[in-house]
Amino acid sequence: MEDGDQVIKKFMYMNRKAPYGTIYAWESLEVVLIAAAFDQDISLVFADDGVYQLMKDQNTEEVGMKNFSKTYSALGDYDIKKIYIEQESLEERGLSLEDLQGLKYEDEDDDWAEKDSIILVSRAELAKVIDEQDVVFSF
């Protein structure tokens, strides 16, 4: 809401761990979905092993955990439009953007055109974006 009295802060959620084995990835996602209700400027980062969270075609049957990778595509519905992926983290793991699921949002101001939410950044560029934040949560 563009309310003169309301301060909009920049919140960043850093995801740095593999999706299963610990609860961090799912907890982070839940916190993000709740925080989305407060109309703040939200961005997500996937770096280090966190890039595995967005891998395509995940199958969790054997580990007995819910496959929440599908939930990331709902982020657009929650008006979360900035998802930074650190390029070096992908390269160090032999991955590229092609290995990750695509994430989109619909731009209200552009006749609901579908746009990419994923922003590929280098480690140096990411450092600058982190520096601009008011609050950074690390998971």
């Binding site: 839940e30 979905l33 709740i34 989305a36 209700a37 819910k66 496959n67 929440f68 599908k70 939930t71 595509s73 709902a74 519905d77 929650y78």
Partner: protein
């Protein structure tokens, strides 16, 4: 807690949400609504079915704001308002409709 339908018992949590969402059948939704004192009509079912599809696709129940927007897109603008949804589900559209749909209580639900 549990709910009985056609002589079969289904486990629910203390707020009446189904424990195992794979057990869900439409009859269960109807029985839960009757127990709450308000039978379901086709407008309720539109929303309940929408929630089930949303869950199937995204593995979460949407927040009420997201639900309102999505319903408007799918079922028409006149239905995509919180007034319409609260009339159908006075205890909170996401919360109450999710219960009848056999889904977990939505994250950060209002």
């Amino acid at each position: 807690m549990a709910i009985e339908v056609d002589g079969q018992s289904y486990e629910t949590d203390e707020e009446g949400y189904l424990e195992d969402l794979n057990q869900w059948r439409p009859e269960l939704g109807s029985a839960m609504a009757l127990a709450d004192g308000a039978p379901l009509d086709e407008n309720h079912w539109e929303v309940i079915n929408f929630l089930r599809e949303y869950y199937e696709e995204y593995q979460i129940a949407p927040a009420v704001r997201v639900l309102t927007k999505a319903i408007g897109k799918k079922l028409g603008k006149d239905k995509g308002t919180s007034k319409y949804l609260y009339e159908l589900f006075p205890y909170g559209p996401a919360k109450q409709a999710c219960k009848y749909a056999g889904l977990p209580k939505p994250t950060g639900c209002v």
